[in-house]
Amino acid sequence: MASIGRVPTQPLQNLLEQAFPDATELSVEDRTGGGDHFQVTVASPRFAGLALIDQHRLVNEALAEPLRDGTIHELRIKTKGTE
C-alpha cells in the first residue's frame, strides 16, 4: 500500500542525518511542493577546512541514491561550517 502522506523530504533527512550525525543544522525543504525539487542546508564540523566544492561533494555522496534513481530532480545545497 503506498504510504499516504509520506513526507518526500523524510528519506533525504534520514540519509543526511546518517552522513552528518554531528550536524548543528540540517534541513530538507521540498522547494516546489512537487516532491522532487529540494533545498538542503547542512552545518557540520565535517566541513571544517574543506573547499566549498568538497563540502558539496559530501552532501552529494550522502544523497547519491536518490540522485541516481531520480527521486531528486533538482537539488540545491547550502553548506556551513560550525566554527
Binding site: 558539496h56 552529494n60 547519491a64 537539488l75 540545491r76 547550502k78
Partner: protein
C-alpha cells in the same frame, strides 16, 4: 576510453569555460543551468555550452569523469568549479571573477562570447 568520453575530456581541457548544461546558452532548459549562465555572464566569462540532453550517455560519462552527479557542471581551464550553487556563491563573493582572472588572465572578458559545442559530431 570511449570516443564520447574522449570528446568530453577534450572540451573540458580545451575550452576556457565549459558548461555542461540542459539546453544551450540560447535555449536554456532548466533552472539550475540558467542560474549558472547568469552568474557567468555577470562575471563576463566566455562560455562554451554543451547540451547534455542531446544524448543521455553524455551525462553518464561526464559524471564518471568529474565525480559530480548533477547538471550543470562548470569547468574553468579543465578544473571543475561546481554546479549552480557553487558558481552562484563564488559570483556573489567575487571569488568567481578572481578564479577567472587567475586561470584565464586578467583580460578574459575581451575574449568573452558564448558558443555551443556538439559532442555528437567530431569537433
Amino acid at each position: 576510453m570511449t570516443e564520447l568520453r574522449q570528446r568530453i575530456q577534450d572540451v573540458i581541457e580545451k575550452e576556457p569555460v565549459a558548461v555542461f548544461m540542459k539546453g544551450t546558452p540560447q535555449f536554456v532548459m532548466c533552472g539550475n543551468s540558467d542560474r549558472v549562465l547568469r552568474a557567468l555572464r555577470e562575471a563576463g566569462a566566455p562560455v562554451t555550452g554543451v547540451d547534455v540532453l542531446a544524448d543521455p550517455a553524455i551525462r553518464q560519462e561526464l559524471s564518471e569523469i568529474s565525480g559530480w552527479p548533477t547538471i550543470p557542471q562548470v569547468f574553468v581551464k579543465g578544473e571543475l568549479i561546481g554546479g549552480a550553487d557553487i558558481t552562484q556563491e563564488l559570483a556573489a563573493s567575487g571569488e568567481l571573477t578572481r578564479v577567472l582572472e587567475e586561470k584565464l588572465g586578467p583580460d578574459y572578458r575581451s575574449s568573452a562570447g558564448e558558443r555551443t559545442v556538439s559532442l555528437l559530431t567530431p569537433a
